[in-house]
Amino acid sequence: MIPLLGTAWHDVPGLLGPAVWETARTVLIVMSVVVLVGGPLGLLIFNTSPLGLTPNRAVHVSISWIANLGRSLPFLVLMAAIIPVTRWVFHTTIGFKAAIIPMSVAGVAFFARLTENAVREVPRDLLDVGVASGSSRWQIISGIQLREALPGLVAGVTLNVIAMIEYSAIAGAIGSGGVGYLAVNYGYRRFDNNIMLACIVVLIALVQLIQFSGDRVVRALTR
């Protein structure tokens, strides 16, 4: 057995730095899509439910079904299954761009559910305050529902960001770049323990930092 040398420690930052930036960029772009699409979708799911402002069974059931679809496949399978869409949009099936589509699909479905849960926690009686004083539907949603659910929504975003970091690492399998790609290509395929260790430390630190900041914001928002 030939002992394999890991990347020298002084070379690690040069590899890891760009990878962390890649991961951050991917997660940031995906999260924008997730909040902008998943949030309204979650509001729609809740408000068309029997407990919502405008119950509508048909809309509720169909959107709920679509959101479940995005969450029912393991991410690796979803990523593979969605390749035709990815190719159609970006004309490529590997790299950073290719990861955006499956991550967004999974993230949107996840955040729709998180949003639904967050607004469900707002007591129905508070919505009635708006209805009884003649507020419009949008005023009730933005002024009461979203405002009261804000701590829950921030907790949801925190959870979702962490899930997206995890997915970005899985997306490393299709060469998306980022910390996950580095860990797979160097740490796993080349038995480069130094890189593997560095990736693990960075990922743990990243996740801890995000969870900590998220909790702080939630606490500041809760009255």
């Binding site: 004083s133 003649g134 507020s135 419009s136 002024g143 009255r223």
Partner: protein, 338 residues
């Protein structure tokens, strides 16, 4: 003024409200009472139009609000302010922001909103808590903010749905004082939905009892309290419990019947009837006149007609307690046998 007529609400097969007719005049305080499950909360939700009545009308200011829909209905809801049970304040807004919410949604200008929020908080005596969050306020204080918010859009009718339930007696009293003040000073018509009879006795001009979705009894509070044997009358002013009756006394139930009963009636009656044992008594001020329920003991050999007429001359209705009398006799016989 609010006129409710033929108000009916049916959920599937269940008729929750069955042809409710009820009118509250301008500046009047009306109470609707009833056991839980009688349809009180559904009635409240139909009146503030959170629920569409299946049939019937809710007329405020000459307009049938229940017949409207869409944008018109939204506007109509502003005619009726609601004070909710446990206030329903938004947790992430300060007291002042909570009061401002309906005005902001109404699209009022900033300066106007600020001015009115100040006025309203002052009216409910909460100006010093304007920047507190609901979690920093007591239940009674929260309800004061809830009342200020209910008044924010200057409704002609204020609906209080169990507004004092769950408050301690002290807070309840102060909230009731506040509501009465609103009527006296702003001329707001108040419709109070409650299961607490103290509230009715404390502030209402008229009262209606709801049971199984129908109004089974109603009238002015003073009239209802004086009614001899109606369930609502007994609920409003229960007969105080009589301790074990002394032997050899005939028990009489007395009820104030006249608007004015001389405070010296007891000694005057005694002057004509001889010894008069006061066994239990409840006298109270309701709607500006005194009401009373008492049990007294008299010599059984007294002529019943004479006793009744003596009390009648004093403005008091007297009835011989037949059941009580038998009870005493049976008790005495039992003791003799032993």
């Amino acid at each position: 003024m609010i006129e409710i007529s033929g108000l009916t609400k049916v959920y599937g097969q269940t008729t929750v409200l069955d042809g409710i007719d009820f009118t509250v005049a301008d500046g009047e305080i009306a109470a609707v009472v009833g056991p839980s499950g009688a349809g009180k909360s559904t009635l409240a939700r139909c009146i503030n139009l959170l629920e569409r009545p299946t049939a019937g009308s809710v007329v405020v200011g000459g307009r049938d609000l229940a017949a409207l829909s869409g944008r018109e209905l939204r506007r109509a809801r502003r005619e009726i302010g609601t004070v909710f049970q446990s206030a329903n304040l938004l947790r992430r807004l300060t007291a002042a922001q909570n009061v401002a919410l309906p005005m902001r949604h109404r699209g009022l200008e900033d300066a106007e909103v600020r001015r009115r929020v100040g006025d309203l908080l002052e009216r409910v005596d909460m100006l010093h808590r304007a920047n507190h969050f609901p979690s920093q306020l007591s239940g009674g204080q929260r309800q004061r903010i809830g009342i200020a918010r209910g008044l924010a859009l200057r409704p002609s009718v204020l609906l209080a749905d169990e507004a004092t339930s769950g408050l301690d007696p002290e807070s309840t009293r102060s909230i009731l004082g506040l509501l009465t003040g609103l009527r006296d000073e702003l001329g707001v018509t108040l419709l109070v939905i409650t299961h607490e009879m103290d509230v009715v006795r404390g502030i209402a001009d008229q009262v209606a009892q709801l049971d199984h979705g129908r109004i089974v009894e109603h009238g002015s509070v003073v009239d209802v309290v004086r009614r001899s044997d109606s369930p609502l009358s007994r609920a409003l002013l229960p007969m105080p419990p009589t301790p074990r009756a002394p032997e050899g006394l005939a028990l009489w139930t007395l009820r104030y019947a006249a608007d004015v009963v001389s405070p010296f009636w007891l000694s005057r009656a005694s002057a004509q009837l001889g010894d008069l044992a006061l066994l239990s008594a409840l006298t109270e001020e309701v709607g500006g006149s005194s009401v009373g329920r008492l049990t007294v003991g008299l010599d059984p050999n007294q002529d019943a007609h004479r006793v009744a007429s003596v009390f009648e001359a004093l403005g008091i209705t007297a009835e011989r307690q037949i059941m009580g009398g038998i009870g005493v006799v049976a008790g005495a016989a039992g003791e003799t046998a032993a």
